[in-house]
């Protein structure tokens, strides 16, 4: 177990983070090159003011017409994404391990709070799954990869929850948790999970075009 633990928390963690950050950088550069080649005039009307204005509206729950039209979906989407980001970054165990490795850490959430946020992420994933299955208009545009991606995102939270509560097979569950987290990190730049990076960029672009060119709002 020492060898496996050392391997997943050592080299595998390095590989996962290098691919995660390297991959995001690669996707960003790739995007900029594409824009420069295909539509270089976009750069002429990109505006910080209109970009931030659009992003601000879209990251506020019910800040846009679209959010207001679908209240249930809006609440679940916001709760899911906030917990998805906050729980792992501010998890005490993650901060402790980071501090042991690098000599500095950061403030973290009480375990009880992180536990509830984990349940919210899992509940959100179940909601998205059921929605894909029962709503015909969603099922129509769903492919296998959607289910796989949902599983990739949910897995670290499910295994983390089971490991934290030591429900069964603690050691293997912790290893599964670490590996599934690494799989998710690596999947982000190279799958549609890249919307983590692209969503704000898309808003910035759309917001600038609507604000500076069409003199309209995009929310």
């Amino acid at each position: 177990m020492h060898a496996i633990y050392g391997w997943v928390t050592g080299p595998l963690t390095w590989i996962a983070f290098l691919l995660f950050f390297g991959g995001l950088l690669y996707r960003l550069v790739q995007l900029l090159i594409l824009v420069r080649r295909k539509e270089p005039f976009i750069f002429s009307y990109m505006s910080l003011k209109y970009s931030l204005r659009s992003i601000l509206h879209w990251i506020l729950p019910f800040g846009t017409v679209n959010w207001r039209l679908h209240p249930v979906m809006t609440i679940v989407t916001f709760a899911f994404h906030i917990c998805l980001l906050v729980a792992p970054v501010f998890l005490m165990a993650h901060a402790i391990l980071f501090e042991e490795a690098w000599g500095f850490g950061w403030p973290s959430l009480p375990d009880v709070a992180a536990d509830w946020m984990t349940l919210i992420v899992i509940a959100g994933a179940v909601f998205f799954l059921v929605r894909r299955i029962v709503r015909p208009e969603v099922r129509f545009v769903t492919s296998t990869s959607d289910y796989v991606l949902l599983a990739v995102v949910a897995a670290p939270f499910v295994t983390g929850f089971i490991a934290y509560h030591q429900l069964f097979a603690y050691r293997w569950m912790l290893v599964a948790h670490i590996v599934s987290g690494q799989v998710m990190l690596v999947a982000i730049p190279f799958t549609r999970l890249v919307h983590m990076l692209f969503a704000p960029l898309t808003r910035a672009y759309t917001g600038s075009e609507f604000g500076g060119v069409r003199h309209a709002v995009d929310w």
Binding site: A3, Y5, G6, Y164, Q166, L174
Partner: protein, 127 residues
């Protein structure tokens, strides 16, 4: 009257038992009472059995004494709690804070020897 004496005796015995210092040979977990609001179950640590199994002869491998920043080789501090010297929150004098002192002592040795628990829940076992 007889009943009153029995109750009194029971209370006295209970009081003695509860306040008697827990000897290290009875220790099964590292007490976490020095933490304001502990987040995890106390770490499993059967003091004497552990040290025998791990082959640690020197008490001051853990109960250490420092003087002017230097580890004193042949003195030990088992009359003190770790928390008597290690504060719960880190000060900037280079002293590890209490949790860091425990993890640095326990987990670090297990990692170096590749023997003994290193995962959170192997030490902080839920009942």
């Amino acid at each position: 009257m007889k009943r009153f004496v029995t109750v009194l005796l029971a209370v006295a015995v209970g009081w003695l038992w509860a306040t008697a210092p827990l000897a290290q040979e009875d220790m099964e977990t590292v007490p976490n009472d020095a933490f304001t609001s502990p987040q995890r179950p106390p770490a499993v640590f059967v003091h004497d059995a552990h040290n025998e199994a791990a082959g640690i002869d020197e008490c001051n491998r853990c109960h250490h004494v420092y003087r002017e920043g230097q580890l004193v080789p042949d003195e030990s501090s088992e009359d003190y709690r770790c928390s008597d010297c290690h504060a719960e929150t880190a000060a900037d004098d280079g002293m590890p804070a209490l949790m860091g002192a425990f993890h640095g002592n326990c987990k670090q040795c297990h990692l170096e020897l590749e023997n003994g628990p290193v995962m959170c829940g192997e030490c902080h076992q839920r009942p």
